[in-house]
Symmetry: C2
Amino acid sequence: MNEASATAEAPGTETDVDPHREAWISIVQTHAAVTGRLQEALTGAELPPLPWFEVLATLDRAPEQRLKMGDLAEALVITRGGLTKLVDRLIKAGLLERTFCETDRRVSYATLLPAGVELLAEMRPVVRAELAAAFTANLSVAEADRLRETMDRIRGSACGTS
Amino acid sequence: MNEASATAEAPGTETDVDPHREAWISIVQTHAAVTGRLQEALTGAELPPLPWFEVLATLDRAPEQRLKMGDLAEALVITRGGLTKLVDRLIKAGLLERTFCETDRRVSYATLLPAGVELLAEMRPVVRAELAAAFTANLSVAEADRLRETMDRIRGSACGTS
DNA sequence: CTCAAATAGTTGAGCTAGAAACAATCATAG
DNA sequence: CTATGATTGTTTCTAGCTCAACTATTTGAG
């Protein structure tokens, strides 16, 4: 943690401590730190990596436990190309299957299988414990809601202006 | 944006809308969205990718515009191995140089060169404009400070418990 | 009806980051 | 002084992602 102490800032420089930029840096670092801990906890428990969990958890919350590839890619914020191969791996592991749409034969669904539900049940407590250590212990429910609302507001403008 | 509308949630399921988990999902998605916009803006302006900016900006804020490799890796939240090659690329582009420590010959510094300062000056307005679109337009200074404080609190517990 | 444009998903090439093994240097105990 | 262990940075290897090109299907204009 040197990013605070190292800011000695020579007198000639632009002495801007933009609070918005500071907030962004905090978001980036916190995201990396928490993601790292989640990864670490999963591999420590000899479980699959975090992206697998995110696929399983997202599908589990979807109606009929399935989602169009495009929608799933958008929810996970990765490209469609990346998702195709990620889903391939989960299918090869027997956790998902590919199903097709009768009315539009371009679309394919990623559909959760019982084995996927089972694995999700194993992974969830590990993820939940880490998240609890990071969030529940430090934020009240009201703060968490406020945080979510703030982040959604930022994301809204980040998506809309394109 | 289907993660809100799709939550029809069958009656039998665990109907847990954990606000902490919701907050985490918002952080992940917002981080990805804003990062994506930054990337896009930089490549659109025919400028180097975002990690290059982060290296340059971090070094620029450091005393004497240089940092030990380990400290820089920690500030950027990437591994040392990854940083070695990232710095290699910046050196090959003439933006940085590797300098060495007299008192401890294990350590090497990544040191900003004039060309790096110059490029940073080109990249900064682009990054700043995107950040302004996402943050300044939507958050008061007080909100930004509060957000930063909240994120730092989360990160603090995420780092300490290891 | 027909054909161009749009949309959904997959595939292949290239690149980047992480993990583990390694080399070099420093610190400390005896 | 020497040896063992800890730290710093690099290298090697691999997995996963993005980008661009491609196929297949649907939509819409004329």
